[in-house]
Amino acid sequence: MTEEIRATSYVGFDSITQQIEHKLLKRGFQFNVILVGQTGLGKSTLINTIFASHLIDSKGRFSADEPVRQTTEIQTESHVIVENGVKLRLNIVDTPGFADQVNNEGCWDPIIKYIKDQHSAYLRKELTAMRDRYIQDTRIHCCLYFISPTGHNLRPIDVIVMKKLSEVVNVVPVIAKADSLTLEERESFKSKIREELIYHNIRLYPFDTDEDEEEEIQLNETIREVIPFAVVGSENNVIIDGKSVRGRKTRWGVVNVEDPNHCEFVHLRNFLTRTHLQDLIETTAQIHYEAFRSKQLLALKEGVNQRPAAGTAQQ
């Protein structure tokens, strides 16, 4: 155990935090999120609502001339958002066509492949002899999985896909369009889902690690009690009590997206951006990427061992 020493007079190295902050502010942060769910569950609207900006357009079919998609496509869009001098580089990956066909066998393969490809690309850049100072990070830090508000339970495809996704990326499940469920229906739906997630051993973010302090463990517990987040998104504003808030106006009332009594949007938004943003990025690197990396490097080593003639591993 190293003893902590108190210097006899003020040195000033405590300013390192500001030095780091200064550097980081200049460099900016990278956050990559993938949206997975059937068409029409409000994926684009939700991400636009979370970041309070129109970032992506809905990829749904909006006209009879548009053909029905036959496979899952991967579409990435990049944006830079600045808030109080902090620059956030956002990559939003949409997956139109997922689970939209009559036969959805294998519709998750392009998604898993894409996520693994990003790990692969990063690894390659890391292993290059002359590598960039700061490797551009396209690894997916968070996967928002959209569950249809049936009110019953998870569908077979939800179970399979969430299981596969949780093995390669941080998965955060959300109940989309939660304004079609009454509060009672929501609660029973959520507890059913949680039961099923536990039964199928689907490991969801956040993970507790040994390093975590009491506070962090508590926070993670609170999050786990809310998951899956029952959300409603909206890019339109409505006036409630003289205030302009994001909401949905129907003939029987106005849904206030930002009201925690109406839906859990605020919880999700804070979770993703205000409390766990840094952790999402870190666990992607430290857990998912590391797992991928070790597997790849071990496989490489095997490959080299089986070919004694080969010099450097060139794969």
Binding site: Q38, T39, G40, L41, S58, G60, R61, F62, S63, A64, D65, E66, V68, D100, Q101, V102, N103, N104, E105, S148, P149, T150, G151, H152, N153, L154, R155, P156, I157, V159, I160, K177, D179, S180, T182, L183, K192, E195, E196, I198, Y199, H200, R248, K249, T250, R251, W252, G253, V254, V255, N256, D259, N261, H262
Partner: protein
Amino acid sequence: MPITGRRRNKVKGVQFTIMVVGASGTGRTTFVNTLCESDVLNHKAIQPPEAAHQEEGIRIKPVTVELEEDGIRISLTVVDTPGFGDSIDNEFAFQEIMNYIERQYDDILAEQSRIKRNPRFKDNRVHALLYFIPPSGHALREMDIELMRRLSPCVNVIPVIGKADSLTPKELKAFKKRIVEDIEHYDIPIYNFPYDVEEDDEDTIQDNMDLRSLLPFAVVGSEEEVEIEGEPVRARIYPWGVVEVDNPHHSDFVRLRGAILGSHLGDLKTLTEDVLYETYRTEKLSRAVNSDNRDSQLLPEDLANQSVRLKEEQLRREEEKLREIELKMQREINEKRQQLMAKEAALRNLESRITAQGSNTSY
């Protein structure tokens, strides 16, 4: 073809069959229970977590209930299709539904061709199929297009938007418009309240035009009641407001109910019997006559025999099962009786021993 709707309904105890199709969670079950004002169908059973990922496939279940609409008794058969759309590959489910509908036609065809007909033969033909579209707000999915397209030629398909309270009025209007455009684009012959400008009277034409403009019907169902101004109202209660099922501003439920159980019940039946069934019959018989492939072409008598044989076999199997159950019950009863007698004997034994000991001086 003349609309005979209104006059035909004044017959007592009209038999009417509807089929409801839609993925679970689209509001199918609640709709039926709301329509019949009683728990006709059971909601998806609370399954243990192990079952969630198991694909059960589609189950087709008919249930009959007696209703009264506008003073007319209706014997309504509702055919539910739980499991539709829930599998990863849903191709099979489509086939099952088609087969069910065609089997009812086959049965009638066979029955009509018999020399000695059964006077109590029950006509199980489906008169209307309500297809529940999930409220995505976009346009139709492949699943929706395929289902409606494949089934419309053999049954009256009426598209319905389930759980319509998840859409704002603006979204709903745009959604309906796009669905109608898709239906036209893909040439899907749904039941669209047809009218004849020359033959029908103005009221009928207007009524049909109105109903056509409501397609697809946006429904909200509820089995719960709430008190609004002292009156019980079927509604869904949200933190931001209350959706009333029977309020035409909130949902098209009332109009839909009035149409299928009232004004257009006759028309739906007539179309099924005189057009859809006849088309099926003609096709089937002409295929039988031109028996180029010997594979599965059966003549009506064979059809009749086959159908009867199948039914008889089914009955026999069920009888056997019942007999087995009876036997089992008998055996259990006998066992229990023997156990009871043994216990009684033991008790009597004990009693006599106690009295015997009581007379002696011991403990």
